[in-house]
Symmetry: C2
Subunit: 224 residues, 2 copies
């Protein structure tokens, strides 16, 4: 019995080649002694450059992915190998977080690690795979996991609660929970068509990290 969490359509990518020569990108890369074509797209630095790329409002938020991952991977549920964690990006890359992986709470260190991952496709630490990246779309990832149920959490889903969601998971023999890794908007159809159910677990919109913390806590209670 294995549960998985997918942070889907995540706003995590390397600076697109179209804006790699923009001063905001070049200057930030130089300041950090990095190559412009190898840095993560980050709205905090690249706001001006991002005017020139489509769907900018959903892109360049490694801070959201960092906080979401740190929220997930320091839970007992993850540390005891009862939960697999994946980051699916809007460019259809899938990052698998290794069992018991401890990612840096320090954001600059996290960013450097991700930049290394996008270059090398794999981060190994003391013989264990810490992170692994491959090209794979959401459908491919779900097919590979073969969960008995796929539950997406979204404000436009059926009214439910964290406890009810965990209860539904408990009735299956392995389920996948999907949370959006983007700052605004909803899942795209290519992702949501894979959901068996879409649930709204709170009346108000909640940040991804709050949803992740509460979901995992309730899953722990149910799966003990």
């Amino acid at each position: 019995m294995l549960l998985s969490l997918i942070i889907a359509e995540s706003a995590l990518e390397i600076v697109p080649s179209k804006i790699v020569s923009h001063p905001s990108v070049v200057n930030q890369a130089r300041r950090e002694s990095k190559k412009p074509q190898e840095v993560l797209l980050d709205r905090s630095y690249h706001h001006a450059a991002m005017r020139n790329i489509p769907e900018a409002y959903r892109r360049g938020r490694p801070d959201i992915i960092h906080i979401s991952l740190i929220t997930a991977i320091y839970t007992p549920f993850f540390l005891e190998d009862k939960l697999q964690v994946f980051v699916h990006t809007r460019e259809d890359k899938v990052i698998t977080v290794g069992k018991g992986a401890r990612l840096p709470k320090s954001y600059p260190r996290f960013v450097s690690l991700m930049e290394q991952l996008f270059q090398q496709k794999k981060i190994v630490s003391e013989d264990n795979i810490l992170l692994d990246l491959k090209q794979e779309n959401f459908t491919g990832l779900v097919k590979r996991l073969r969960p008995e149920t796929v539950i997406g959490l979204s404000r436009i889903g059926k009214k439910s609660s964290f406890a009810e969601m965990a209860g539904s998971m408990a009735k299956t023999n392995g389920g996948t929970l999907v949370i959006g890794g983007f700052p605004r908007g909803h899942f795209s159809n290519t992702v949501s068509k894979e959901f068996d159910r879409i649930l709204s677990v709170h009346e108000q919109p909640l940040e991804a990290h709050v949803v992740i913390a509460r979901s995992i806590y309730e899953l722990e209670r149910v799966f003990g």
Copy 2:
């Protein structure tokens, strides 16, 4: 009825004057166009310099305070003004987080904001006080809040659970929950002497942000 959360003895401070000329401090400040005497102490950058200061293992972790605050302030409980949040530092400064304050999820922006706060003692945004800093020790803060009960969470406390802790709070007319804002070790006596109870809410040691997320969730359930 008001509840408060204190992140106590937090590893958040400006670089101590003793190491302000150390190359690791000077270089990082120059890279970010900041003054060395105004940057936050950060183990990720100042590791080498920190060999020269006492209790270094408990200091220079703004990343922990950032993740802990982001965990607390995006909860419905905080956003609905049912929870006050304070950061008490090991140097006896107390940061009050303004009602409904939205602090940046971006770590570099958070760091800049904190550096500004240590300089100016107050951050105002659209006529609301976002952050306020003053010199005050833990006892002074507790005296000011006058909670009916002060519960400290620590691995060396009485065996309990998040739900039990919230239940204890519910029996009072206003309580204060205290969580350590340091990476290792226990509360010092000057802090723990103010506790009415010390509870251990999980068998294994948990990171501050995990404890905060679960505590607030259980408080919300109880105080609805």
